[in-house]
Amino acid sequence: MSGLLSSSIARKFAMALSALFLVFFLLMHVSINLLSVFSEDAFNTASHFMGTNPLIQFVMQPVLMLGVLFHFILGFILEIRNRKAQVVKYAQNNGAANSTWMSRNMIYSGLVILLFLAVHFVDFWFPEMNYKYIQGNPEDPTRYYHELVEHFQNPIKVGIYVLAFIFLALHLLHGFQSAFQSMGANNRKYTPGIKKFTMGYAIVVPAVFILIVLFHFLNH
């Protein structure tokens, strides 16, 4: 690789930056979704704003797409390079003795999230783009809640979402705190607090996503 990403540390830093961006996006996503549990109107208003605001639609959305693509592509490139760095594998390797399962399997939890994103896009994003920009339907600010609820009536679909959020939690459990280390933020004073905060986030955010899905499945 050349240019800005030519060194291992630069790639590490870029991976961490894109990760933090996606972590922040998750917080926004879960906050809006959570509204659907408390108020149909509030959820519709927030979704309508997100779906029609030009800044969000034509600036933030492409930036988010690029962020997601960047994180996945760089993740795959790093994985390929890392595999080349150790061609002959050990006959016996006791990884559990010195590291967490999450930290050793980021590529697999990441792959599950990537597959989930495909399902998620087919469920929500493609129909949304089709509705708004291809069919050019007039905007209906009250449609979002029903569209959301409709998707979570199939137990298989609910199962897929719950499983994906569990893998998201596993990915975040290592990834979030790891981003700080990659950016050089590791010291005796702040790191224990950062680790606790990131672990809490990694569990709470996916758990709230799961609860929202289950709420709509069980309530309708």
Binding site: S7, S8, I9, A10, R11, K12, F13, L78, R81, N82, K84, A85, Q86, V87, V88, K89, Y90, A91, Q92, N93, N94, G95, A97, N98, S99, T100, S103, R104, M106, H174, S178, Q181, S182, M183, G184, A185, N186, N187, R188
Partner: protein, 247 residues
């Protein structure tokens, strides 16, 4: 006294294909070091006219960094804070089967049996792991430069790295960042290292990448397996130093 089965990687030379071979050793005392147990095996092999197992060793007191070996799936075996020469046989039980492999990394090619070429570490050191001081007789007394106790201690902790390569061997990505992080840190923490700090970190990281070590993914395995307790903080410091030097 223990009787053990050893599964050992045997490889004639760098170009040959290796394989795991089973051996039996008997009457092994728990007080022996792992290398002494290997000596017993080799005596046995010499007596029966077989080729002894090649393995690296030098000081046998945990400071030279020569002894390597991946024992039962861990660099320097199952104990913590020890090199292979400091690993006691009392860590094992009678009847155990012990798997012994060379350190695996593309940047550490196997030379023979359990011996790997770790010159890639030397080349990283040559790239910048030093301070260019004038030693012609007018060098300033080091004690005349005020250094905080914290910085001195942290620099000393980083300098404890013996360059054994356990970090690379342990890392699933074969990353050398703990080693390079320690070498960068030991100078970055002290005033004497400041003058060449920028060139040092850039050159050492460039050499590390050139040698084909993998990318660190912060699993933290290196820190756990390091015989000298080198902390991940050193990698974070290297990342900071590198970013500072790059912008």
């Amino acid at each position: 006294m223990m009787n053990l089965t050893l599964k050992i990687w045997r490889q004639k030379d760098a170009n040959s294909k290796g394989q795991m071979v089973d051996y039996k050793v008997t009457e092994i005392s728990g007080h022996m070091s792992f290398l002494e147990m290997m000596d017993v095996l080799n005596e046995q092999l010499i007596n029966t006219g077989e080729e002894p197992v090649a393995f690296d060793h030098d000081c046998r007191e945990g400071i030279c960094g020569m002894c390597s070996m991946y024992i039962n799936g861990e660099a320097h075996g199952p104990d913590r804070g020890v090199t292979t020469c400091q690993l006691h046989m009392r860590m094992f039980k009678d009847g155990d089967t012990i798997t012994i492999e060379p350190f695996r990394a593309s940047a550490f090619p196997v030379i023979k049996d359990l011996v790997v070429d770790r010159e890639s570490f030397e080349r990283i050191q040559h790239a910048g792991g030093f301070v260019s001081v004038n030693t012609s007789g007018n060098t300033q007394d080091a004690n005349a430069i005020p250094i905080s106790k914290i910085a001195a201690d942290e620099a000393m902790d980083a300098a404890a790295c013996i360059g054994c390569g356990a970090c690379v061997a342990t890392c699933k990505n074969s990353s050398a960042m703990l080693f390079v992080g320690a070498k960068v840190s030991q100078y970055a923490l002290l005033p004497q290292g400041q003058v060449e700090a920028k060139e040092r970190v850039l050159s050492m990281v460039a050499q590390m990448d050139k040698e084909g070590f993998g990318n660190c993914t912060n699993t933290g395995a290196c820190e756990v397996e390091c015989p000298k307790g080198i902390s991940l903080e050193n990698i974070a410091r290297m990342n900071r130093e590198y970013i500072k030097a790059s912008v």
